[in-house]
Amino acid sequence: MPEVPPLEAELQLATRGSEMKLEAELPPGTGESRGTRLARAVLGPQPIGMAFGAPYALFIAVLFAYPLGLAVWISFHSYFFTAPGVSVARPFVGLANYVAVLTDSEVLRSFLNILIFLVINVPLTVALSLLLATALNAAIPFRALFRACFYVPYVTASVAMVAVWLFMFNTGGVVDSVLGPVAPVPSWLVNQNWAMPSIAIYVTWKQLGFFILLYLAALQNVPKELYEAASIDGASWWHRLWSVTIPGVRTVTTLITLLAIIVGANLFTEPYLLTAGGGPNGTSASPVLLMYQIGIEQNHPDFASALGVILVIGVLLIVGVQRLLQRNQT
């Protein structure tokens, strides 16, 4: 696995590098005019890099930084869509939108839904992908075929997969047929208690292949000597799993938790299509689904922007905490 230096080191490299290398690489006074030297001092030794990076920089500025700023601006104003060309006052309302978001029962319910999602998705993903990656981590027949089977759902469009799951988990679908009297009534996707768990199971299934690949790579970095030492000490397989394997792949486990939180906050296709718009009674609504329903369908983009800004801050906080934890571990 190509090692990626930790973020902090990367940042230092990226920010310091340009000044540090400058002196060393340029032999002083090799016939360069004063102007060229000045240009290099201002633009860096290879200013052509600015031209190479310009389209991407423009992309970031126009389609990331500006929208992010706009979201913050909208979230502090009273804002709604009007017919084209009509200009209306958009008064500053302070934190009113944020207060509205944080006291909205639908929003709070969607946060609870993410919690339900996480409680089911994270342990299931960790256990199953670790199990399958461990099983794959050997010279066994059909290895490539198994690997391919596992990640095929990951690369397939959610809309296509949701269609099959609807067919399977519908009232009277094949899953109900198999389970017979044990099947929940009302059926999975229209049952208040099963709607969100169904989505969590679906997402686990869809993304498992990706995490199997990550665990597989992590398992191959666990030193074999540790397993040998443990075997010599007479450790049971459970003991080896608990004290060698699990600590060895902890980075991936943290990553899964982190990505699960982000995925949960961003669910849209699943609650919109699988459980018919976050139903029943909003028990499978996600924050992004609410952003769409409230912001665009019901024309309250100010409310939805505030919700979006809260989520962005939440995601950045979680990523920050994860970085911090990871640094303390290593």
């Binding site: 190479f52 389609l63 929208p67 397939t156 047929s177 912001g295 922007s305």
Partner: protein, 299 residues
């Protein structure tokens, strides 16, 4: 970093398994059992999707799991084609995906190369912005993007509006940068002394050396727009502009009983939507290995 001195080609194509595979033992029976059950769970929905798309009459009982000779038809494919105009929606998906791929390959490679090998003012800022963009999910920006692209710029129902937020895939830029970083500095210095300009160095020396990374990044970039639902759904109101994923989802939500087997018709559309991505990944699966994608998500 374990592979110092190996060329990038080796790193990328080296099967991720050879390094520390346990010797074949009697354990392989439990492995095969676990993997077999796992594979079954993963493949069954795909199998069922195809079976379901061929059923004349919807059969959700257990007998419907095996194909019934009397209940097989291709009519569902005709029905979905009539309802969605598959050709047009596939072209829309293709233009959306192709535009993103083109922009990512051209501008993403340039940016990745600049971030890895060139020293210029603003490089640190560009790199930090890229990391930030990788962390903040696109979905959280749908409201301002909708306001900007549909309301301000009037790009609703246009390919440009569809492509814009995805145009340069940052994960791909990150992968390009990681691979360009691994190329030995001496190579570039030698070329520069010979008087080659940076664009020539990039296209003639650096790019051929990172071809596997290029393929990995393109595969990852492909599934983004091809499978994307939320954004094209938001900005396309006319059916003639909708990519297949959006048109199919709308059809699912408003499924009419005018067709004889509604679910079969939906599943036929799902098969058409799934096949290109699955086929691409199976064909190029050796490029979809953990080291490549791992480097992307660890950012």
């Amino acid at each position: 970093m374990t592979q110092t001195g190996r060329t990038v080609d080796e790193v990328a194509v080296a099967p991720d398994d050879v390094t520390s595979v346990e010797p074949r033992t009697s354990h392989s029976w439990w492995r095969l059992t676990v993997l077999g059950i796992g594979a079954l769970v993963f493949v069954f929905p795909f199998y069922y999707m195809i079976i379901g798309s061929l059923q004349k009459n919807q059969n959700t009982s257990l007998s419907g799991v095996v194909p019934q000779p009397g209940n097989i038809t291709l009519r569902n494919y005709g029905e979905i084609n009539a309802a969605l105009n598959l050709g047009k929606t596939l072209i829309n998906s293709g233009v959306f995906t192709g535009g993103v791929l083109l922009a990512t390959v051209v501008f993403g490679v340039l940016a990745g190369y600049a971030l890895a090998q060139l020293r210029f003012r603003g490089r640190g800022l560009l790199f930090v912005s890229m990391l930030l963009l990788l962390m903040v999910p696109f979905q959280l920006l749908i409201i301002p993007l909708y306001v900007l692209i549909v309301r301000y710029y009037g790009l609703g129902d246009s390919y440009l509006g569809m492509i814009a937020p995805f145009a340069i895939n940052s994960t791909a830029v990150f992968i390009f940068r990681q691979y360009f970083l691994q190329l030995p500095k001496e190579l570039f210095d030698a070329a520069r002394i010979d008087g080659a300009n940076e664009f020539r160095i990039l296209t003639r020396i650096a790019l051929p050396l990172v071809r596997p990374a290029l393929l990995t990044a393109m595969l990852l970039t492909f599934i983004g727009p091809w499978n994307e639902y939320l954004w094209p759904f938001l900005i396309t109101k006319q059916q003639s502009m909708q990519p297949l994923a959006v048109a199919l989802a709308n059809y699912m939500n408003t499924v009419q009983s005018t067709v004889s087997n509604p679910f079969g018709t939906i599943l036929a559309g799902a098969v058409v939507l799934a096949v290109p991505a699955v086929a691409l990944f199976l064909a190029f699966q050796r490029y979809f290995v953990a080291p490549n994608i791992g480097s992307a998500v660890k950012g």
